[in-house]
Structure formats: C-alpha cells, structure tokens
C-alpha cells in the first residue's frame, strides 16, 4: 500500500466549503431561539454610578435585561479577575456592561441602546509605560484577592503587574566582561486583533433537567465546559459543548467569554436557545485581542560575533484582564534567546494591566512579538560588529548539546536543524547579492532575514483521546476533540490513521464537529500541537483496533495472531495471503458458519498526554515548557521608494524544519497564511487609541488586514529533521509562518531606508518620521 503521507491531500470537508453546506455556529437552525445583545462600555476606565434598565425592559419583545447585579461572578482561565459583565467599574472600551435578551435580534439590539449607564470617568492607563510608572493608576484594586485557576501566576501587590516570569542562566557579569561590543534596544508593539472572518458566537439552552447545552465557535470546548462548571458550580457532566466548523481561530477563540454570557442569558430565560453573536466591532474590541509589548534588550558579543550575554525586560500589555497573559509571559521568557545560544542570560517578563482590550493567545503565542525584538537586536549587533547578519545568525544558532533558557538540552530531534533552514533561506532569497540594492528606477530593493523558534508552552497534562468505530464496510469513523478551525487537522488525523491502518483515506470518515458529550477529551485546539497530541492518540487507537482485529482474525483464520498482517481492510496470513478475512467481517464481531458470533462491535481507543513537562522555577525559570521546538528562517524582500517612503513587499520566504511534511500543499498553505498575517502586523495592523483609551479603529474599514494583490510572492520550503517522538516525525507548524515575518520586514526596511525600526506597524509615515528625525 502506497504511503498516504507526503502527498497533497484534499481536506475532508472541502466540498461542503465550496457549496455553502459547511455550517458554522451561527448557521445552525435551532428553534425556538431568543437573541442576546450586549451593551458595551463607552469608556476605557470609569466607575459605573448607575445603570437604568427600565426603558430597555419596557421595549417590545424584551425578556430580560441583565447586569452584573444579577450575577456577581469573576472569570479567567488563570486568574479570576474578570466579571463577564462589568461590575462596579469598566476597565476597557468595549467591555460588556449589560445584556438584553429579546425575541428578535432587532428587538434586543434596539433595547440595548435604551439602557442608560451613568459613568464617572477615571484616569486611564493607556500604555505600558503608564502601567508600570511609580504610583500608577491601579486597574485592579483587589488584585491579590483573586482566585488562581493555575498555580503558576505571581501577581505583585499594589501594582498593575499580574505576573512576573524570570529567567536566569550562566554568569551575567562574566558575559559582559567577555563581550567586545554591547548594544541596547527598546521596542514597542501595539495591540492588534485576530480578525478571524467568523465573529465569535455562542448559543446556550438550559434543559428542564438542568443540563446546559452550549454551541460555540470555540477552539477549546473542553475548557469551556470546565470553566462553566467552575463558575456556575454545575457538575461537568451536565454541561455539553458542541462546536461545528469554526471560521478561523488564530488563538482568539480559546477563552470562554460569550459562552459564559450565553449561560447567564439562558438562566434568565429558561428553556429557550439563546443566540449571542459578536458584531465585528465587538469581536475586535469587546472580545480578547493580540498582546502589545514593550521591551528593552541589552546584548553583548565577542569580536567573532558570538553572543556572550543578554539582559532583557519584557512587559506585555495584557489589557484589562489577565486571561492567558501570565502564560504568554512565560512563553516569551522561556524562548527569550530565540534559536540562539546565549550562555549568560537574564530575562524578566511581566504581564501588566492597562485599560486596553484584554489579550489572549494569538498565532505565535508571543513568539512573534519576542522575535521582533530579538531579531532586530541581532541585525543591530551585526551592524555594530560590521558583520553579515546572516553570519551572526549562523554563528550563534543553537547546536545539539546547547542549553535552552530553561536549561533543557537541545537535540536534533527536539529542536530540528536551524542551520539547514538558514542555508536554504540564503539561496532562496539570494542573500549573497547583498542589501540594499539601488534599482534603475530610483527605487531601492532590500532584504531582511530573521529566525524563528517556538515550543508548545502547554500545561504539563495536555492530552487527548481518540475513539475509532467501524462501519459495516470495514471503514472507520474517527472521533476526536480537535476543532476544525481551518488548518485541516481532522484530515491530518485521518492521514495518520490511514497510514497506520494501511488503508485508503477514503475509508476514514472524520467527525467534523466536536461534541464534548461524545467526542473524547482534547485539551485545546491550539499551540500547533494537534498533529502531535491527537496524532499520538490516533496511533494508539489504531494499534488498539489492530490488536483486536488481529486477535479476532486469528480465531477466524485458525492461526496465531503473529502470523497475520493487514492491508486494504483485509487481515491475511503472511505466508499464505490467500487465507484472509476482511475487516467488514470482523468489525461487528466474528460470526461462525453456524451463526454463533464472538466479540461485539469493535471500538478502538487511544490516548496520549504530554510527558515529562514540569513547571518553571520561579527565580531561574528552570523547567520544561514543551516537549519539542520548531525552528525556521524567514526573509522578506521589499521595494522602497526613497522619495515617498512607500514600499511594497516583493517576496517572502520561509524555511521551516517540519520534521516530516504530512500534507505538502496544506502545510505550505498554512505557512503562507501565517506569513500573510505577519505582513499584516508588519504593515498595517494595530489598535489606535485616543488619549482616553478609546479604540479608534473598530471595524475592518479602518482596521486594515492585507487584501488580494497586496501580498508578495511566497516561497515556502521545508527541512525534514524528524522529531522522533512525533507521529511519523512531524513537528507542529500551524503558527510558525507568522513569527519572524514582521521582523524580517522590519530588517528589510531598516536596510532600505537606513533607519532603526523599533516598532510596528511600519507605515510610510513612520519611515518618514524616522528619516526626518535623523
């Protein structure tokens, strides 16, 4: 049987997606249904003096108007600091303040507009600098009283700092002493948005027996279930979360937000489905966004370009609530050296509260922000040393045996081969022709390069199970808890199963929707970990099913199971393949000639959990945050107009060590999508705040994502250094395409315009300002 792996494989749900048959949460036909709409805050920081709901309650069709007065509750997946509806004060512009439930969507919206809220404005924490200055305005007065949902959260009393992660290795004074050249840099990155095309949506109904049914566009249905259970004190088994196809996630659909509100609404209107759908404006600011960052880095290197020491401080703009940002701080800290070996190191990474929309995981999980700072530093270092930035990267790239910032040992299997990626990149971007290059038309062509690295940063118990059931034709139904958010993870799981079972992919049927009542547990569809975690569980389930099939076939074929082999849904005797039995005659049990049947319908089950992960030491960061890393190298080539300071990307290149490419076209597509998003962050995307912390660009009219024709030519290639413990060697690659693209662009602009680029996005006006300042 020809291998299924390494071949371009069309996703299982392709036909549904080109015919309109594919259903997303808000497409589902549930009846009867009530509609919930939010009233959101018009201030970034203000005391709620009064909420008058009387007019809204009197509006036609209105069933309920809900405020925090109806359910004092605090939510948060790590630190319970966030009321689902603002309680006492609002902490960001767009924060949900009240909710209306009405018969019609229009009625709910109309009534929401009639709720009168009296605010008393408070001074606004409108930047990281304002959050960490002496005697700052405090966003959370009760910070130390919040319940921790996870142990690894260390808030600092009396500050806006909700978590601090430290890394310390080697001997920093010695590192500085060994450095010939020491440079410093400061960087700021704005908050931005996931911009998934499907806005977040949640539905909920409370059944007569108290079961809570939720339908949601979530990447994390099992977390939703667990969080709802904890918040409302409902037994987990009575909560059922269903997720159909999801219209893009990018990390933004990992927090329980609308689900919590939908449950609150459903409790107010018993026995009816509640439909709560974000408008685009709400999706941009009311729901969580992409972190902002401020960083200062000092880096020293010996004359030969070897980096000897680095001291780094990062502040994450987590916005008004902690949500996952302590974990983002940890992720940045554990990867703070990038794919480079820095023997003497100190890193301090804090998550700070501001009066901005709150941050959550975003494609790259902080690594895209870290890479910006670090890879700008590497270019600056190369400049200071008068060396080729490519060589500086090559010289410092990690080798097997080097220690990571967490003091984990690097191996080829756990990290892949960054050098090979760099060498490939060098050819693909034609690095040796040099940069910048003056073109005949008064334009300048320039290139920038940068490296990427990312590990999973999963909890130490992240795991999944898979269930296989069989159809009477011997084909298999694959049921797992991974949500299909776009990268074809269900198809990847099917490929892995087909490969192990030595059968056609056509005979693997995937359950596209997830239902926590029937689909086995999966931690979350995040962190580029589905191929690894689900993949390993699939392999275990396949082995379980095969064991059963072979044992039953052994009875049927009157021979020991070890004499049997299988292929194409048939079990046969190895030394005489004319003796065989088909899967279809085994999967419902084996029936003897006389009708007697043994062994019932076959179920294959497999599970997998991350192994040997451990929390980080609070003082040094020693520990293990992931089981493996994915590395790569990226480049962007631009054409720059030195008169107008405008530019356009010509070419973008990514080389990733994928371990093993299971589905080349899909892999390439996911990487290109990440690159496009990275260019968006580099060129356009940011939340713009007015002096009062009000987000000025809350629609796609003004929050600009790249469109057709604005993108460069993409070149994507892979290196394949197997990760030995991963399914067929395949590493996670879902997020990685984004990571070093913004900084590769920045390095290209720095080269073209001869300016120091220390923030994103890079607009022509920014370049003009830097040029005129200089």
């Amino acid at each position: 049987m020809e291998s299924q792996l390494g071949k371009d494989t069309v996703r299982k749900e392709a036909r549904d997606k080109v015919t309109g048959a594919a259903k997303y949460t808000n497409d589902l036909a549930d009846a009867p249904m009530r509609h919930a709409k939010l009233l959101t805050s018009s201030h970034a920081h203000a005391r709620i003096v009064a909420i008058d709901t009387s007019k809204a309650s009197a509006m036609p069709g209105v069933r309920s108007v809900i405020t925090a007065q109806d359910s004092h509750l605090l939510c948060g997946s790590m630190l319970r600091d966030r009321p689902p509806l603002a309680d006492g004060k609002v902490r960001y512009y767009g924060e949900p303040v009240a909710m209306v439930v009405a018969d019609e969507e229009q009625q709910a919206q109309a009534a929401a507009g009639k709720i009168q809220v009296t605010y008393e404005p408070l001074p606004v924490v409108n930047s990281i600098a304002e959050a960490i200055k002496a005697n700052p305005v405090i966003v959370h007065e009760q910070l130390m009283s919040y319940t921790k949902m996870e142990q690894e959260v260390y808030p600092l009393p009396g500050t806006n700092i909700c978590h601090r992660q430290k890394i310390s290795t080697g001997n920093l004074p010695k590192g500085w002493a060994d450095s010939e050249t020491v440079i410093e840099g400061s960087f700021t990155l704005p908050q931005s948005d996931h911009g998934a095309m499907e806005t977040r949506a949640a539905r909920c109904i409370i059944m007569p027996d108290g079961r809570v049914m939720i339908k949601s566009s979530s990447q994390a249905p099992y977390s939703v279930k667990e969080e709802i259970s904890a918040y409302f004190n409902i037994p987990a088994g009575k909560i059922i979360v269903q997720v159909p196809l999801v219209g893009g996630g990018f990390g933004g659909k990992t927090a329980a937000q609308l689900e919590v509100l939908a449950v609150i609404a459903a409790r107010a209107v018993q026995g009816q489905w509640i439909n709560l759908v974000n408008s685009r404006e709400e999706d941009l600011v009311s729901s969580p966004s992409h972190l902002g960052l401020a960083a200062t880095i000092k880096m020293g290197a010996a004359k030969d370009g070897k980096i000897m020491a680095a001291a780094m401080t990062f502040y994450i703009d987590s916005g008004a609530y902690a949500e996952i940002s302590p974990k983002l701080a940890k992720a940045i800290a554990v990867e703070c050296t990038g794919p480079y070996n820095i023997p003497n190191l100190q890193c301090d990474c804090c998550s700070v509260y501001t009066n901005h929309p709150y941050a959550i995981s975003f494609r790259g999980f902080g690594h895209e922000a870290l890479a910006f700072c670090l890879e700008r530093m590497v270019d600056k270092l190369a400049f200071a040393l008068n060396m080729d930035p490519f060589q500086v990267r090559l010289i410092n790239a990690v080798r097997p045996g080097d220690l990571k910032p967490t003091q984990e040992k690097t191996t080829l299997s756990n990290t892949g081969d960054i050098r090979q990626c760099l060498e490939k990149l060098r050819t693909l971007i034609n690095w040796d022709e040099g940069t910048p290059i003056k073109e005949a038309n008064n334009l300048i062509r320039a290139k920038g390069i940068a490296c990427l690295i990312k590990t999973s940063d999963t909890p130490t118990d992240a795991g999944a199970a898979v269930i296989l059931t069989f159809n009477s034709d011997g084909s298999i139904n694959l049921n797992c808890g991974a949500v299909e958010i776009g990268p074809a993870m269900k198809t990847t799981a099917a490929q892995i199963l087909a490969e192990r079972m030595k059968m056609s992919l056509e005979d693997i049927h995937v359950q596209l929707t997830v239902d926590t009542a029937s689909s086995p547990y999966y931690w979350k569809t995040v962190a580029s970990m589905t191929t690894y975690i689900i993949g390993r569980a699939v392999l275990n389930a396949a082995d379980d099913a095969l064991g059963q099939l072979l044992n039953l076939a052994a009875i049927a074929l009157h021979c020991p199971p070890e004499d049997l082999d299988f292929k194409d849904k048939i079990v046969f005797v190895k030394h005489d393949p004319t003796l065989y039995i088909a899967f279809k005659d085994l999967v419902k049990g084996y029936q003897f000639a006389n009708g007697n049947t043994i062994k019932g319908p076959l179920v294959g089950r497999g599970s997998f959990v991350m192994s040997r992960l451990r929390p980080l030491d609070e003082a040094t960061g020693k520990g293990k945050a992931g089981s493996s890393w994915t590395v790569g190298a990226q480049a962007v080539e631009i054409e720059y107009d030195p008169q107008q300071h405008t530019y356009r990307p010509l070419k973008a290149v990514t080389v990733i060590d994928a371990g093993k490419v299971l589905n080349p076209k899909t892999a390439k597509g996911v990487v290109m999508g990440g690159m496009c998003m990275g260019l968006g962050l580099g060129m356009n995307e940011e939340f713009v705040y007015d002096p009062y912390g009000i987000v000025a660009n809350t629609s796609f009219r003004t929050y600009k994502m790249l469109r057709y024709g604005e993108t460069p030519n993409y070149l994507v290639e892979f290196v394949e250094t197997p990760q030995i413990d991963a399914p067929y060697g395949a590493r996670g690659i879902g997020e990685h395409g984004i990571i070093a693209i913004p900084v590769a662009l920045a390095n290209a602009i720095a080269s073209a315009a001869q300016i120091d680029v220390n923030r994103l996005p890079i607009t022509p006006e920014y370049i003009w300002r830097e040029k005129t300042r200089a």
Binding site: E105, Q106, Q109, A110, G113, E281, Q643, Q644, M683, N684, V688, A696, N697, R701, T702, K704, L706, R707, G709, E710, P761, T763, P764, E765, W768, R769
Partner: protein, 276 residues
C-alpha cells in the same frame, strides 16, 4: 441588522419623491433619500443615523440617465460608480470613482450618495469641482439647474427635502489631460490620506483634493498657475496657504499630509510639463 423599523418608498418621478418627502415630514416622520444605501445601512446599523422612512431614488428615470448628448455628459444621481466608470465618457471621473471603496461596493454606491453622504471624503466630487459641471436639483420650485460649485462647497448645500437629480459635464472638459492620485496610509482599499484630481485646460491647471482636511477643497488656481514662480515655490506657497485646512486623522498627521501633498504636486507639475 438594523435595530429599528422604517418604511420604504420607491417613487417613479421627482415630483412623487418630493411629495413623498413632505408628506412624511408633515406626518412628523423623518425621511431620508436613499440610493445605493451603503452608507445609510452601515450607519443605521450602529444607530449613527436614525430615520422613519427611506425614499429610494433609484426608480426615477431622471436619476438614471447616463448619456452623452447635446455636448454634455449627463449622469443621473442614482447611477452607480461602476456604471459611470464603465461608460467611460469622462476618464478622470472613471478613474476617481474606481478608487472609492472596493469594486463590489462600487456597484452599489451611487454618485449622488457619494456626494450627498456624510463621509467627509466625497472623492467623486473632485473631477466635478474642476470641470464645467452643472447640477439639476429638485427644489420647491421644481427642477433647478446651477453650477456644481454653487451648491457644493465641500458638501452639497441642499435645503430640507431637496435632492440631486443629475449632473451635466461640458463635453469640452471630458478628454483633457488629467492626473489622478490617491494616497492612503498604507492599504490600497482605504479612505484617502490625500486624493487629488487635476486637469489641464489649455495652459491652466485645475486641481481639487480630499482627505487633506475636513472636506474636498479646490487648490488655489492663482497660485497653481502663477507662472512667475517656479513650481517648487508655488507648492510651498500653497501648502502654507492651506495649513489651517490640513487636519490630522486616522490616515495620517497634518505634517505628514503636507509632505505627501508636496510629493503629489511635484509629480503633478512634472506630468503636465511632460504632457504639454
């Protein structure tokens, strides 16, 4: 989803539309004239515009003209940007409207809507401001015709109930040498940082721009065409003169806009010099 109800009228004549408007007003209703609907719907959706009725002008033949006749190009106010661009009689106008919003929406936006709407840019006005253009307005005295610039000073100065019926552009102005530049913050599909339309009639350059301030403006013709000064000096003078009109917004700061305008005008002079 629009959070309030309203009535929809689709009159077939200008008089019917006029009558409809004032019937509603006398019944204490707030009517709005409606054409492409793109701005009205997007504003109504967020309660930025609230009304009791819309009067759709698209069914009125007079608002639907698109023809070259009697030495003029006549455009009904209800014509879509796409149809106007495809008709192609006035290349500068075609090019200007093809850069408003995006291609799909150009099939919905009407020229009347772009001129009469509340979004400050009104890019379609630029080619009309610099050509010999007359408008037909429905008024209490019936249809009145007047020069475009008499009723448009950055926005249409219509009295209650009045509406734009059609535009007439002198044939002699349609095929003159022209320049159209649209600069945005970064993205191609965006509101303008500056959009400038210019044409050269004989020796004289005429130009209008939007995005620079709160509304479309004409560039001072005397300074633009002051042959006693080299272009660079004329540009400096104009930027100085327009300093108070220049406004910072989401697209860019005032200072940056001045820099960009300088580049646009340098190129403009160069293009027209080469062209002649």
């Amino acid at each position: 989803m629009i959070p309030f109800d309203f009535a929809y009228y689709r009159p077939e004549t200008v008089d019917e539309a006029w009558g409809c408007y004032f019937n509603l007003v006398s019944a204490n209703k707030k009517p709005l004239y409606y054409a492409g609907g793109t701005e009205i719907i997007s504003m109504a959706r967020v309660n930025s515009s609230v009304f009791d009725a819309v009067i759709d002008l698209k069914g009125i033949p007079a608002c639907h003209q698109l023809t070259l006749q009697d030495g003029a190009f006549i455009i009904g106010s209800g014509q879509t940007l796409t149809r106007i661009a495809e008709f192609g009689a006035y290349p500068l106008l075609s090019q200007t409207v093809k850069r408003i919003a995006d291609h799909t929406i150009q099939g919905q936006i009407t020229i009347g809507g772009n001129l009469a709407g509340t979004v400050k840019y009104r890019e379609a006005a630029l080619p009309l401001m610099i050509s010999n253009c007359r408008v037909k307005i429905m008024t209490r005295d019936g249809l009145l015709e007047m020069p475009f610039l008499q009723i448009f000073d950055g926005r249409l100065r219509l009295k209650e109930g009045e509406f734009l019926v059609s535009l007439t552009i002198d044939e002699n102005d349609l095929q003159l040498p022209y320049n159209h530049v649209k600069k945005t913050k970064m993205a191609k599909i965006d509101y303008p940082l500056i959009t400038l339309a210019a044409m050269k009639k004989g020796p004289e350059i005429k130009a209008a721009m939007t995005g620079y301030g709160d509304k479309p403006l004409l560039l001072p013709a005397d300074m633009l065409n002051n042959d006693s000064l080299p272009p660079a000096e004329r540009i400096t003078n104009m930027i100085k003169l327009l300093r108070d009109d220049c406004k910072s917004d989401l697209s860019g700061s005032k200072e940056y806009k001045e820099f960009v305008l300088q580049g646009i005008l340098e190129q403009l002079f160069k293009n027209f010099a080469e062209g002649s």
